[in-house]
Symmetry: C2
Subunit: 344 residues, 2 copies
DNA sequence: ACAATTATTTCAAACGTTTGAAATGAGTTT
DNA sequence: AAACTCATTTCAAACGTTTGAAATAATTGT
């Protein structure tokens, strides 16, 4: 009988179960949902039949009826950056514990694709959205739509710097950079170079401020010669490094870098030119990449951004917003501390 | 007026548009779907109003009516392995081009989680499923459900070795390993060690066969001393390497490894013990990790598995199955060639 | 002016659930 | 035996769409 059903591909619905059991659809529904008004024996019969016939409730129908999907949407630039994949882990963990499923969508740092993803998730009537915006997102109409429909949005990591009226969960990148700089100072460094990231990214400045403040608080003189900026392009990184190490009078003995891949390019270059002090230069970057253990001249430490924790904070906030435990207009800003991991 | 609507949070539906426009719901629906029987002017009015009021069709309702979701499910072990994230890229690309959206779900190599993911996707009535099974998947009931409901499933990369009756898309790991071994032979190596992966993984043997056949075809003598197996545990890799390099009479000059992270552990170990021939040993592993450029003693080449292409082949096959261009029972097996990438 | 044609709009049912209200049935009480 | 409980089941409407058939309106030909 099961086979028949499957052969002609009529899906098993409540109605089908009801006919088989000669009872009404509502009894079947209530039995499966364990309503107290349904007789125990009836429940048993229904549940057994449902199991035997592999009844699978149709989520579309339920969503339609319940006016919610129990789906959380995530939009992020890409899945190749371990920061994001690790953050997803934190989101998923807590989401599934709370009965939510997660749809992940990549923007590939393309605004058009981000808009498409947003529209798709809106049509799917996600109950909430977690988003790390693309590099090029200036206009937020496609994301504002959600709030306009009462669907809460939490921005994480990459977020609209100027626009204060939104929920944010961010790595405390100031604190991370401060800590790293302080660590190097404590190890006796007085000439600490800072290699910053793209100036458009909003936390570039926070990181720089962490560096500056650590110097100041520890009476280490600041020199603008020791600061340079790059992006993720190798050539630019090399020319930035050339500048930093240009003045023999003011030669850095340590380096704090915006992100590990950039740092690796820098280290590689310094070694390739056989820089005289290469062995003594101590480096730290944001990231804590697992590959560090394979490097011959590894950074002395990493600034671990705790992406899982960032993700977890984002989903926790989002669920509170969904449950209206926090008013959607009561905009929150959560900072997640970084941790300095010293490599051994 | 829009604001009112949004304030009391009544979502904009076809019915709402119809009332505003004083026409029937079906006219509105047909106008939005550009039915030829609807008057041009009416279409304009409807579309304008829909735009102004930010009408967003409810996908659940559409899915329910159309009995399909235009969603493809993907289940894979995790997102930290770049093989998988790169393969997703291939899937997404082609899927969105064909009007499908993608839901990604991680099993974390846990059977229980894989079952949950499968059930979730089944309830969501995905139109098709692409899956790389977990390490521990022996029983396939949770995946067979899909085919029983007429939903096609394509297994990719990790797949049930014994069970022939399923659709598969695989990297041609035999060819990849053959090519790598041949490359080393052509460079004059006669003592090529082979470091294999976990024996449970089904393509471990294919790779070994690639190695063996390349030796045979080129009249290089095979020695079982030159073969060892490990898993992803560093300790086991080191003891495997110790065995491979134990006999001074039979010292390898080259090494083919199952996967790059394993190879990196091996290289690291060999250097750490200051192996006398370290500089001459040429290594190749599966993967083509982007970090290779930062290593001091990088592999001479990588076996690029073309994950994007594997993903693309999987989704193409799946869509053909969904469209019934290929019969669901007509099980396909597609092999995607690897490419040897020589590092420069 | 009237039928015949064509263009356009509306009706109504369906998709698979959920759920409060109404109906039924079986005991209990008087 | 009528009235009242209480447990259990069923009814019926609703969620937001789509779509073939039926209805209506507009246009044409005679």
């Amino acid at each position: 009988m099961r086979l028949e059903k499957m052969m002609n591909n009529t899906p098993v619905t409540l109605k089908f179960l009801a006919e088989k059991l000669k009872m009404s659809v509502s009894t079947v529904s209530k039995a499966l949902n364990n309503y107290p008004t349904i007789n125990e024996y009836t429940k048993q019969r229904v549940q057994e039949m449902a199991r035997d016939l592999h009844f699978t409730p149709n989520k579309s129908a339920i969503n339609l009826k319940e006016k919610r999907s129990r789906i959380i949407g995530i939009i992020l630039p890409n899945l190749l950056d371990h920061f994001f994949t690790r953050s997803i882990y934190g989101v998923e963990q807590f989401a599934t514990q709370n009965g939510y499923n997660v749809i992940i969508s990549q923007s590939h740092d393309d605004l058009e694709k981000e808009i498409q993803s947003a529209n798709m998730l809106l049509r799917s009537r996600v109950d909430g959205l977690i988003v790390a915006i693309s590099k090029h997102t200036q206009d937020f109409a496609h994301l504002d739509q959600f709030e306009n429909m009462g669907i809460p949005v939490v921005y994480y990591t990459r977020n609209p710097s100027f626009n204060l009226s939104c929920h944010k969960v961010l790595g405390n990148t100031f604190q991370g950079c401060y800590q790293a700089t302080k660590f190097l100072i404590d190890r006796g460094h007085q000439k600490i170079a800072y290699l910053g990231g793209p100036k458009m990214i909003n936390f570039t400045h926070d990181r720089f401020n962490g560096y500056i403040n650590a110097l100041k608080d520890n009476q280490v003189p600041f020199s603008s010669e020791l600061v340079a900026y790059t992006d993720f392009d190798k050539e630019n990184t090399i020319s930035a490094i050339k500048n930093l190490f240009a003045n023999p009078e003011n030669m850095p003995t340590a380096l704090v870098a915006f992100k590990e891949p950039i740092l690796f390019d820098a280290i590689k270059y310094l070694r390739s030119i056989n820089h005289p002090n290469f062995g003594e230069i101590e480096c730290i970057g944001f990231g804590n990449t697992s590959f560090i253990s394979y490097l011959d001249s590894p950074p002395i430490a990493s600034i671990e951004e705790n992406p899982e924790s960032v993700g977890e904070n984002a989903i926790k906030l989002l669920i509170q917003l969904i449950n209206k435990e926090i008013d959607i207009q009561n905009y929150q800003k959560i900072m997640v501390d970084c941790k300095l991991v010293v490599h051994g």
